[in-house]
Symmetry: C2
Subunit: 483 residues, 2 copies
């Protein structure tokens, strides 16, 4: 294991994190809060640790990572930033209890958006800003992961979709990869900046606009209000729907769109499926809720369009407590937690493309049943996906399901009722945030057992890093070589 | 489509069914019931229809079935016997309402064991006998399906496990296949006959012994008592546990065992996994229930051993209302509904071997992540399963899950609460019978909406015939050639 280089990477990451950590201080000054000392101390500790790790590992540094080193580094990057990211909450005393702080921080950097806060608005603005910023940083991390690292590591089938298919190329870390990452970061930053004035127009304060721009583009779901986006105007709600949809799309497609390659964008099967799901489920839920006769049509459409988009993109914002809707409506929303956003987006979950492949593999299976002697192939966006790739991709689904079930059993054994256990695990593994049962959109995770909070935090990281990246660290074969 | 030969096959099946239908008349005489006329009429109609179809199709008969014809024939064999199997209930007026009669009959021939009867013991003995017999006939049908037809049709991966792996050979229908089927039928009949005196020793009447011998060996779950096996002595309960376990095993292994090939039996990975699951889950549930402190240890072990075996083998008998147990206990039982019995048994569900393959495909995936340049293979019982086979096998899991979710959504839209919807679909698709919610082991399916009963009956047939056999009939590509 090239521990020297791994420490070096962690050092760089922590220096960046420490610099980001300075920005909430501005808001402490603006709102005259007494959090300056706590945040500054957090930042300095993080910067000091980062600098120490970076320079301490420079001598005889060999800049090479094996496959094993890479899996380890990716997983522990999220662990390390989550540990240092806890400091502002701890030093300002704004969240009580280490499990709570850990849960909230991991929920930030993984862009999950589950919260243990019972009264969000009582927190200092500077700390709320750090909370939102942690999601935006997490989103940046995901983009570099998707562009550069996952395809290289053959994780979760990310190597399957080459440039033509999804824009993701499977090659060594090259200067080209770095420039691609920068381009996608540019799109991420640009969309964030465009969103701010739109939210201002809708009546948000500048502080709220900035925070929500961060958490919308990261498909994060943290809000500065207890009522989430429900606290804002219908205009804001429509704007957030649009930008959640953009955050849940493959960022490569945004890039192609800007370059005028419209055909490539609109012929993309994952995008078409993604938008179709939003449309069909919104209509189904609108009908189910409107038939109750309580609300006018625009209201129902807006609420259901919002919840569908929020859950499919794994954003997790809310404008309504959908658990109050008829059973078929929230059952559909619950199932959306298992669909996920598009590959190459900041959204999490299983991802639409995996469902497309598994659906096509069912069709392929039928074809082979009817024509056992002819060669049948599976194609995605015109590219053949061979059986090894198909099986590796569906295996991801199996592993996801296995993790979901194991997690649910653990939560049930920790004393949760079945609904809450299943809802909490689905929502946190899938990166959505609010679940069903007692952790629904109008509730929070404060009442969960401390052990349960640790388990859910772990599931957030597993889900965010496409499962295998993390789970492989727990296999004996991973450590075989090191023994 | 070779309709002539298909009708000819249905004719033979109906003649056999009509003959079986005569046997309940004996019990009508023994118990002096007024059902003789109704049952005799049913039998004669069935025999007449069968004879007419058989002889009417003999001229110019070409005994060849294409692949499409075979899928069609297998599915409709179950539909046809279910339709004629309804007659005894209808003509004796023992079950009210056609959806109820259809549900009960399909539940019989698919060996599912769900019932709409609210007071089983009030039915005439002769009708209860027909009900039990329908499961035993269903079990015979499954054996011939597994031996001769599924491997040939490449359904659900049955072609994957050749003789060495599970004893199932993938070859054309040969005289050898026919003799294999007869041998396995012999084992089925022999085990049924051995079970009868054991149940008598346990204190059952001869009538009850015969009925339960039929339904235990078919992994069926129909009982002549409202309290199911809970109405009988602990000795009977242990005997039933043992024979449920035998019914849930691959019948080829029984054959190998009789021939003294013990090594082949005990090295079989599916058998080892199957028995391990029974052991581990029994222990877990015993602990969870015993900790409540209400019952003595033997009682708890017996009850939990029984429920675990009953659900894993998809038998569906009950000795206790497990929904009264702590949540972790019945959650585990619910999950067992998705495991299923062994391939080549009379049990249904997903089957243990599919889980073994999917688990190994996850391991294979990790191996390939760590060693991208070396060749990693998946082996089952020493035989290599290539990627095409793995992907076809996991595709079955995806399709199963998809069917389960679609079925649950339909049931929710038909007005069931989520628990009951999910429980009913899992239990009927998986061939278990009793589910959770309001269709638990102490309840029945009487209160379900008529449309819901039809949907569940359909799911029973889909599940029994390994999904693809039936679902392929609903694809456009199936009918392409015929248009
Ligand atoms: K989220
Ligand atoms: K059954």
């Amino acid at each position: 294991m090239n521990i020297r280089f791994i420490i070096n990477i962690f050092g760089r990451v922590l220096i960046l994190l420490g610099l980001f950590m300075l920005t909430p201080i501005i808001w402490a000054f603006v709102y005259g809060e007494d959090t300056v000392g706590g945040i500054l101390a957090s930042s300095l500790i993080t910067l000091a640790a980062g600098t120490f790790m970076y320079f301490g590992s420079l001598i005889n540094l060999r800049k090479e990572l094996g496959l094993r080193d890479s899996y380890f580094t990716v997983t522990f990057t999220w662990v390390v930033i989550s540990l240092f990211g806890m400091l502002p909450y701890i030093f300002t005393g704004s969240i009580e209890g280490l499990p709570n702080v850990y849960f909230e921080t991991v929920s930030g950097f993984t862009t999950t958006g589950s919260t243990i806060l019972t009264d969000i608005e009582s927190l200092p603005k500077s700390i709320l800003f750090w909370r939102s910023l942690s999601q935006w940083i997490g989103g940046m991390g995901i983009i570099v992961l998707v562009v550069a690292i996952l395809p290289l590591l053959r994780i979760g089938g990310y190597n399957l979709f080459k440039s033509e298919a999804s824009g993701i190329s499977y090659e060594k870390l090259t200067p080209k990869t770095a420039s691609t990452a920068k381009r996608l970061w540019g799109i991420y930053v640009a969309l964030t900046i465009i969103l701010i004035p739109l939210l201002l127009i809708g009546g948000m304060s500048f502080f709220d606009s900035l925070n929500h721009a961060f958490t919308v583009m990261a498909a994060g779901g943290f809000s500065t209000k207890d009522a989430s986006i429900g606290a804002f105007s219908p205009f804001v709600q429509y704007v957030v729907i649009l930008f959640m949809l953009l955050a849940g799309m493959n960022f490569y497609l945004h890039y192609h769109f800007i370059k005028g390659r419209f055909k490539r964008v609109f012929s993309n099967i994952e995008l078409k499926t993604y938008l179709s799901i939003v449309g069909i489920v919104t209509i189904a839920i609108t009908i189910a809720v409107y038939l109750e006769g309580t609300y006018n049509l625009e209201y129902v459409i807006r609420k259901s369009f919002f919840q569908v988009t929020s859950i499919l993109t794994t954003s997790g914002f809310a404008t309504y407590d959908y658990l109050l809707w008829p059973t078929p409506a929230w059952t559909l929303l619950f199932l959306l937690m298992f669909v996920g956003a598009c590959v190459g987006s900041t959204g999490g979950g299983i991802k639409v493309i995996r469902h497309v492949v598994s659906f096509r593999s069912v069709v392929l299976h039928f074809k082979r049943m009817l024509h056992p002697n002819s060669v049948s192939l599976l194609k995605i966006n015109g590219e053949v996906i061979d059986d090894e790739k198909v099986s590796s991709l569906i295996t991801f689904l199996v592993l996801y399901l296995f993790t979901f079930i194991s997690g649910s059993i653990i939560m049930v054994f920790l004393g949760l009722d079945t609904f809450t256990a299943v809802g909490a695990v689905a929502a946190n593994l899938g990166g959505v945030g609010p679940g069903i049962g007692t952790v629904g959109p109008a509730a929070n995770y404060h009442h969960i057992h401390d052990a349960g909070k640790i388990v859910l935090s772990f599931l957030m990281i597993i889900g965010r890093l496409e499962l295998t990246t993390v789970i492989i660290l727990f296999t004996s074969m991973f450590w075989d070589k090191y023994r």
